[in-house]
Symmetry: C2
Subunit: 167 residues, 2 copies
């Protein structure tokens, strides 16, 4: 950004394989923590991480179509369908035929779905909040910068599209 002259030596020297390996392992262990709390909640029900992801993104973009969800989650329609079918049958998700285009199904959380979503995201947010508090605001900014740079280009585009809606 600025003052790169003196800094650039550091920022290159800094990227030793050892430093990178630490980052890789930190990412591995942290992701386990990241999913641990929702996993514990879901384990009691007949649901898994896949259901959590579907619920999360339906909450995020109510009325989203199956195709859109497919692209965000990056799984096959058969795999997503299995998850959605369970959620719809259990009354957590509602599927409505589109008005403009009747081929599309628009997905919404029911009240029960909202309740579970709240439970799951509370648990996940609590840990995230604790981590953010412990690390401090500047660290959080860096955290987000590195994560965004780590995404695939098309995933970053999706991520940024999501952020534009609400963020």
């Amino acid at each position: 950004m600025e003052g790169g002259g003196r800094e650039s030596g550091t920022s290159l020297l800094f990227l030793t394989d050892e430093q990178l390996r630490k980052g890789i392992e930190a990412m591995f262990f942290a992701y386990r923590g990241f999913t641990a709390d929702p996993d514990r909640i879901l384990a009691d029900m007949a649901y898994g991480r896949a259901h959590h992801r579907a619920i999360h993104f339906i909450k995020r973009s109510p009325g989203t179509t199956v195709n859109n969800l497919l692209a965000i989650l990056g799984v096959t329609k058969q795999s997503l369908n299995r998850v959605l079918r369970a959620l719809i049958e259990d009354g957590l998700v509602q599927s409505e035929v589109g008005t403009r285009d009747k081929r599309e199904r628009h997905l919404y959380l029911t009240e029960a779905g909202e309740t579970l979503e709240q439970q799951l995201s509370d648990a996940q947010r609590d840990r995230m909040r604790a981590a953010y508090r412990a690390a401090g605001p500047e660290a959080v900014s860096g955290f987000r910068q590195v994560l965004e740079a780590m995404m695939d280009d098309d995933m970053r585009r999706r991520y940024e599209a999501l952020e534009k809606m609400k963020g």
Copy 2:
């Protein structure tokens, strides 16, 4: 750390649910990128992410025991055994009966194992390096701080124990 006085107002205001949700989604999309390159390499062979993890931590701590690996990976011995058996049969991993305690098996990468490990970690490091370069040294520091704060306590202990050995 220091100068927390003026900062603390910011660091609280800052932790809105929206900000936390962004962090959660960034973590989700970034982790996909994080594993994408090794996954592509492994897809060509008969291996998956589980094999990569085993290879990584054997490379990391040559001579480690099965039990130690079990604790780090957090899976059942049956699950790990299936992976190890394939790697041993394919001549990527060598298992040696312990000298002090002959019940233990000490695990090492063979030359072929080292070759694959190099291929996988090169791919993963390349992306990590690019992300680090794009974000800058200060961001990297923050990234690591947040990740470490996000781990479960016992996972952080394991992570730090690993770092002490080589880091």
